[in-house]
Symmetry: C2
Subunit: 316 residues, 2 copies
């Protein structure tokens, strides 16, 4: 059973571990946000691609959810001697990935080819695709000015208020090779519990992807990143509030209802079922908070069963 997942970084990766546990990972295709990517020190850095890949490879730093477990920071520290920016954490092992990818890109490879090279080298069996081979760069409009996403998130610790979000380059981008076909052919599509504004938003801004999902709406399931009015991970709730969006599962339903028919919400939000169904999505209720490995496996199996059951129903 082929499944496609739309993913940001840390929040998505937990669920991806669960999905890869619940199915043959070769049949999982992950479309990853690249709006977070940045160029620094002449290197192209793709935080979400790397988080997803390192997590599925089993080498991610479990304390942070990004970077490589046990990594050191000797190069970054020495880059500081050259008065270079050191606010973006680049571990020594992690740098090998950026050096490898940047060299491939300069030699004419596409970002898709880089992502595939990295995941194969690290032994990841799931397919990992960047949302686009063209650069799309998320920019956050704040009272402090327009900030490139990592600048906002890491350097400014997501503190400035978000006035607006732009996906520079999205209008000139196209889905990476294989994305539209994977969406069209999949038995089911999962929108991971990532930040809808800056993790799933950029993916949907690539011309063609939103339409492809809408055409498969009956088979698209979103996992709600908001539980009991709070983000599962990162500044999602804060950003939604600053953008004037109610921080609730109902708002998430409002954002996804054109492309997804079902929303998985946490059991603690079960009482929101009526208002979400009124907003136009059907509801599935389970435990969505993933702390232990077992929580990830649980949610992964829940989703795989859900998509499988639906398919089985449809074919009988």
């Amino acid at each position: 059973m082929e499944i496609v997942a739309l993913a940001g970084g840390v929040g998505a990766s937990k669920l991806l571990v669960g999905l890869a546990h619940a199915m043959a990972p070769e049949n999982l295709t992950i479309i990853v946000n690249t709006g977070d990517d940045l160029e620094m020190h002449g290197l192209t850095i793709c935080p979400d691609l790397d988080i997803v890949t390192y997590t599925l490879a089993g080498i991610v730093n479990p304390a942070t959810g990004w970077g490589i477990e046990g990594d050191t920071f000797a190069t970054l520290q020495f880059l500081g001697r050259y008065e270079r920016e050191t606010w973006f954490n680049l571990g020594d092992r992690d740098l090998a990935t950026h050096i490898h990818r940047s060299d491939m890109l300069r030699s004419g490879a596409t970002l898709s080819e880089c992502a595939d090279s990295v995941r194969r080298a690290l032994g990841v069996r799931a397919h990992i695709l960047p949302m686009s081979d063209q650069p799309v760069r998320t920019q956050i409009e704040t009272p402090a000015g327009l900030l490139p996403f990592q600048n906002y998130l890491v350097k400014h610790r997501a503190e400035p208020a978000v006035k607006a979000i732009r996906f520079d380059g999205a209008d000139r981008s196209e889905p990476a090779p294989g994305i539209l076909k994977a969406i069209a052919d999949a038995r089911g599509i999962v929108i991971c519990p990532s930040n809808p504004l800056i993790s799933i938003g950029p993916i949907l801004a690539v011309p063609g992807i939103r339409e492809a999902l809408a055409a498969r709406r009956a088979d698209v399931v979103a996992v709600c990143p908001i539980v009991h009015g709070m983000s599962l991970k990162g500044p999602t709730a804060k950003m939604m509030a600053e953008m004037g969006i109610e921080v609730s599962a109902r708002s998430i339903a409002g954002m996804y209802r054109d492309i997804a028919s079902r929303l998985v919400i946490d059991e603690s939000d079960a009482s929101s079922r009526p208002e979400i169904e009124a907003a136009g999505m059907s509801i599935e209720i389970t435990r969505t908070v993933m702390e232990a490995e077992e929580d990830k496996w649980w949610l992964g199996h829940f989703l795989v069963n859900l998509l499988h059951a639906k398919t089985t129903n449809a074919t009988h």
Copy 2:
């Protein structure tokens, strides 16, 4: 008193420590071989520039004469996971230099500007100039084929016999800014005890440098890299023998007599004085083998005194 030194890597650096000890380092201008440079993993690596800079900064690995003391190799090891070449030793701290330089070059800086940025950041007061801002690449013709220099030296451990040496790009290169003026204005010029074939040779192959030195021949002193028929450092003797050149101070005199008036030889070679003088250079005898720091200081002071004495004589 302004002094110019022509330098390769490890052998030269010992003497440069001595020169910088014997004079105000601000008055020392070092012209460094870049024929050894290589491109790897998308990075421009300049072994001799880095050896000279790290040595004068006091951070060189004393066990090897190259690299940074206490450096680790986490990035290089991880690059191996991407099936990249790992035979060229790149330490984590050292990589910061290559990343910094490569990013500067891609942003339009010259190699001279990179070298100056690195030496200033590391607190080196002597001026360090690459021989040229244009790429010159030493190639070694061997029975195993034509090998880029580091490939020959490191990957093949200088084992293949040397049939010929080429300096690709030299004919299209020009001296880095400041070199010709530094040579013209210096009170004295020192040719360090580097390999004449592949360390000093590339510098002399940059159009204009040999002529500039010849015009100052009276003030150019070479330190003989051959002591008692053996190299002070590295494969100099082996390469000379394979090229059909006698491994002796006399041969060195033959190679340098057009551009240098004096050759400093080790006291153990004192008996060669007549034949070297017959070859057209005057001789200075001292201890040239540098093991302890004191040996470097000794030779540095010896040379500074020699050049100073000459100037004093000339003005009286």
